[in-house]
Symmetry: C2
Subunit: 243 residues, 2 copies
Amino acid sequence: MAGVSVRTLHHYDHIGLLKPSVRTTAGYRMYGKDGLLRLQQILFYKELGFKLSEIREVLDDPEFDLVQALQMHKYRLSEEKKRISTLMTTINQTISNLKNRKMIKPEDLYRGLPKEQAETWRKEAREKWPNQVKHGEEQLLKMSRDDFKALQDGFKANIEKLASLSSKDHTSAEVQTEIRRHYEYVMRFWGNPEGSRAEGYKGLGDLYVQDERYTEVEGVPNPAFGRFLQKAMHYFVQMEFGR
Amino acid sequence: MAGVSVRTLHHYDHIGLLKPSVRTTAGYRMYGKDGLLRLQQILFYKELGFKLSEIREVLDDPEFDLVQALQMHKYRLSEEKKRISTLMTTINQTISNLKNRKMIKPEDLYRGLPKEQAETWRKEAREKWPNQVKHGEEQLLKMSRDDFKALQDGFKANIEKLASLSSKDHTSAEVQTEIRRHYEYVMRFWGNPEGSRAEGYKGLGDLYVQDERYTEVEGVPNPAFGRFLQKAMHYFVQMEFGR
DNA sequence: CTTGACCCTTACCTTGCGTCATAGCTTATT
DNA sequence: AATAAGCTATGACGCAAGGTAAGGGTCAAG
């Protein structure tokens, strides 16, 4: 009748949030106009996302600082909104990665590289970001073998350093410094066109979580490291490019 | 060790989401590298807001359309985000109303009005939007007594009509048409300066919920009507001014 | 008087674990 | 080796806000 179920009224009665003004001899709950007002207030605050216990405080304690409570709640809501926003961009990245992974097979990446080198790369199974590569392939082809080796070793060292930091806070300066180097390596390997770099890098972070092969360390998969990297990378992009 | 509690692993085991690869003779749960990967994937999707049952579907059914699931989830998140946004503006309104209500006493409103008229108004106890009025007072003073009476009667009729519609959907054309008239009446009574009208009108809707006196019909408080009006008014402002 | 539409109470189910309680296992120290 | 500290395991209960029966009384209409 008033938009709430009988069960809800039972519940409110049970927890003492809203008690009927009278009970008929048969035990029926009867609510007066004051009860109706209180119910509407309850529903109002409930819509705002307050918990019933909080509502009870608000309504029963006249000394309660309602304005402050509302402001605190607004802050909670704003945090939740931010969280949802980042989740949505993460989902976007994940979706585009899944699509691209379907379209480009790993083999495509090595096509055009000297067989020997491709074989080494594949065996080491450490710097595997072949997916989505379109520009990277060309860039690699332009490099001399020595340049490539140096880059590869530096990259390897960087990854290992990050692995050793994986128990730290992903937002710490230590980690973020190393992540910046990681970003630069990835860009050189990956050769992403300007503009989509931030997006691509974040997406790579998501891939780390999706596929264990990306975060093997010394040949041993380490998925927790993947999640650590993903968070650190997202944070880096956030700070560096502002989303 | 991996960022999850033992209890969580028990739980995942219990619901069949993540089972240990082996059990020691003592019954200890041992997870292999595959288990670790699966755990990370679980945590990843959990962060995105998926329910555990959904995660199980995603991970266990290779035929599962992950992209579609992600897109659906993104939509859910966007809806939630919208909801939070409107909640936040509602809170803002409520806060400013509470503040203003504290600052301006009802008596202030009638100050300067002919005593007789103020008395009538107070007694009828029906069109009570004296709060926050700064401009309204002046406007009322400019009107002749007859004009005022006509306005008052029309307003009263409008409110009664809305009360009779309070069981309908607040977004229906019927209701919204009457709400538009209500809006016009309020603006004439209230005399809000241009620019803040939409905000003020929404805020008035919130006040309806806060104080039963605002939605008395024939002298009888009707708080459910208050909530109805509030929603209808918010919707009106949304459609008319786009927030 | 019976039927259907309400209401009552009691109590279990949901989600994702936290938090005991009780007991067995492993490891470190004595 | 014995003992204590510090794991783990298995129930089982609790929280939030009610949904969903189960079993039974009540009320107005026919």
